[in-house]
């Protein structure tokens, strides 16, 4: 068995035979021509044929993935007719006396370059659309219609990369999964795979096509991004089990996607998702979460061998905000400590790491690290709907210091004419008993609270959550914890702030009704729990 790793863009699994995707790729050469009029005529004929094909693909997509997703092919048809695009092709043919294929390929590169150089991840991905239509026109000039290679078996398609039109053109009935060596999770191919409910893994790298051949058996896990070539029995059994639970979940999905999080008596609550990396955004969208209630920024620090730069952080935050397209994204500032070690921070070993030098305590002691993160966050705020959240707060004076640093960062940005959003919400975690007890003092200073129930439980009950022996003493439903949450909710609302829960307790459906009665405004859970929780909310009646 051989294991390859990529990025899962749609969480689902499949097992089956591999089929390596063959593209009739016309090699484009620059050829000198005398009769440029004939070349212009060939471009027109090819464009006409390409438009007809696209219109057929559009119809197919309309049926399979819905109007919103099919529209990209309507846009492809319009792109083919784009004046500047056509003028460019025409002038290259006429001025350089070259063949039509070459003129289209050069024009394609130029326009793709324009999109690639834009500072927006979404627009950068549009370069693929330009290349897709151009390759189609070039293929139409080669005068050989595409043909299926006839097999009736369902297969796992492996390719270097797939263009959106290639993705939709594939016979969905015959495709078990997509695996590509390259590609971006923002691409239409990834979006289409999600909407076609086909497991898809991208970015496996060049070794994909080197190590596989037609007919190889493979198992694909779109959750983890793993591809197993020639899987052993244990792996196959695991994949089959996931397949079964997927089926059950799919039923739930179908009936709950797009529905409101509303109780029988009409109380609404936001259900957001907790994630720890940019790669999880796909799962957030597939599970229909209303936003991101907790984005752990630690990954940026854990993945690096040195402090991540402002620019590095800015790019990551911006990408999350742009991908969520205006939905709320709450990013929590650095939360590491002796239990989550990062070498370059050179933290001392501690007897009691949970009660030690961690999170906001590190940030306030080393404002240089903190300010770099805040600058990156505020800069990114211009690209979406951001909330910044601070962990491990225990006192008013800590929060005062934090807010002063935020003001400092904003003033610096303003001075350098760097954009940020004034609407950026500021919030704190309620995860120490101290914060809950003085929540009346903290609430007027912030826009929101988010209760971190894991730490709140361990600190309130004096139970180390890493110690399995303490499990029976660690009652997460303990009245003390629920009272602290209720108290925080009252104080938040009395001061015009909203309150969410982002700890594990948020996903505990036996407590959902209790939380709603406290007036909790938002529950943030891992993406796969979003719909289950929605189901629970929709069956609660608070008027009884």
């Amino acid at each position: 068995m051989l294991k390859l790793n990529g990025k899962g863009v749609y969480g689902a699994v499949a097992t089956g035979k591999i089929s390596v995707f063959k593209r009739q790729e016309a090699q484009v050469r620059r050829i000198h021509v005398e009769d440029t009029a004939a070349e212009l005529f060939r471009v027109d004929a090819a464009k006409k044929k390409a438009s007809e094909q696209l219109s057929a693909i559009y119809e197919k997509a309309l049926k399979e993935v819905g109007e919103t997703n099919a529209q990209i092919f309507e846009i492809h048809m319009m792109m083919i007719e784009d004046e500047d695009y056509n003028e460019s092709i025409q002038s290259i043919i006429e001025n350089q006396s070259v063949n039509a294929e070459y003129a289209v390929a050069v024009t394609s590169d130029n326009f793709a370059e324009m999109f690639s150089s834009m500072d927006d991840a979404y627009m950068q991905a549009r370069a693929a659309d330009v290349k897709d239509i151009s390759n189609r026109i070039i293929a139409c000039m080669a005068e050989n219609g595409g043909s299926d290679n006839g097999s009736d078996d369902k297969v796992i398609i492996c390719a270097d990369d797939l263009a959106p039109s290639e993705t939709v053109s594939l016979d969905k009935e015959k495709v078990l999964a997509f695996v590509t060596a390259h590609g971006s999770s923002n691409s239409h191919t990834a979006i289409l795979a999600r909407n076609m409910n086909i497991p898809a893994i991208i970015g496996v790298g060049d070794e994909l096509l080197e190590k596989i051949k037609d007919g190889d058996m493979a198992a694909v896990d779109g959750y983890t991004g793993e591809v197993f070539i020639d899987p052993d029995e244990k792996t196959l059994a695991e994949i089959t089990a996931k397949q079964k639970s997927d089926l059950e979940k799919k039923e739930l999905l179908k009936s709950l996607k797009g529905k409101e999080n509303i109780t029988l008596d009409g109380t609404k609550v936001n259900i957001f998702a907790n994630i720890g990396s940019v790669d999880n955004i796909g799962a957030v969208l597939v599970n229909d979460a209303g936003g991101i209630g907790l984005f752990r920024s630690e990954f940026l620090y854990l993945e690096n061998s040195d402090y991540p730069t402002e620019e590095q952080q800015f790019q990551a935050y911006k990408k999350v905000l742009e991908s969520m397209a205006g939905k709320k994204v709450i990013i929590r500032t650095l939360d590491i400590g002796a239990d989550k070690q990062v070498d370059y921070f050179s933290l001392d070993k501690e007897e009691n790491p949970a009660l030690g030098f961690r999170a906001i305590r590190i940030c306030l002691t080393r404002p240089d690290i903190f300010k770099t993160q805040l600058r990156a966050l505020f800069r990114a705020s211009a690209f979406g709907n951001l909330g910044i959240m601070f962990p491990m707060i225990t006192s008013v004076s800590e929060l005062e210091k934090i807010l002063a640093i935020c003001d400092e960062v904003k003033a610096e940005l303003k001075e350098s004419n760097i954009e940020y959003s004034e609407k950026t919400e500021i919030g704190i975690m309620i995860e120490t008993p101290a914060a809950a007890i003085i929540s009346d003092r903290l609430a007027p200073m912030v826009d929101f609270f988010s209760v971190g129930t894991n730490d709140l439980t361990q600190y309130t009950l004096a139970c180390d959550r890493q110690n399995p022996k303490l499990e029976e003493f660690c009652d997460t439903h303990h009245e003390a914890i629920l009272r602290l949450i209720e108290m925080s909710a009252k104080n938040a609302h009395a001061n015009g702030a909203w309150i969410g829960i982002c700890g594990e307790l948020a996903a505990d459906t036996t407590l959902t009704e209790t939380f709603l009665r406290m007036g909790i405004d938002e529950l943030s859970v891992s993406p796969s729990y979003v719909l289950k929780l929605r189901d629970t909310v929709r069956n609660i009646n608070l008027s009884k």
Binding site: Q71, M79, D82
Partner: protein
């Protein structure tokens, strides 16, 4: 000549889909319709250039309509922006 300013409220700005719809709408008129952002101006019928402007939520664009059916075109444009962007 007719002109108006519009601040984009749509969360994603003038992305592929709205750009496609806008270009389609603009082609229905004889007047020249220009969309300007930060001093850069493009013809509304040119889809790729329109996308290339990179108009985002919160950006203000200036729409200028010039030609024989400019009254109708400007009105249609204002309606289009209000309804879609």
């Amino acid at each position: 000549m007719k002109t108006f300013n519009y601040t984009i409220r749509d969360e994603v700005g003038i992305h592929a889909r709205p750009a496609g719809m806008l270009a389609k709408e603009a082609k229905g008129f004889k007047s020249e319709i220009l969309i300007e952002k930060n001093g850069k101006s493009v013809n509304a019928t040119k889809l790729m250039m329109l996308m290339g402007l990179g108009v985002k939520c919160g950006d203000t664009v200036t729409v200028t309509v010039n030609g024989e059916d400019e009254d109708a075109a400007a009105k249609a444009m204002e309606e289009f922006f209000t309804a879609n962007l």
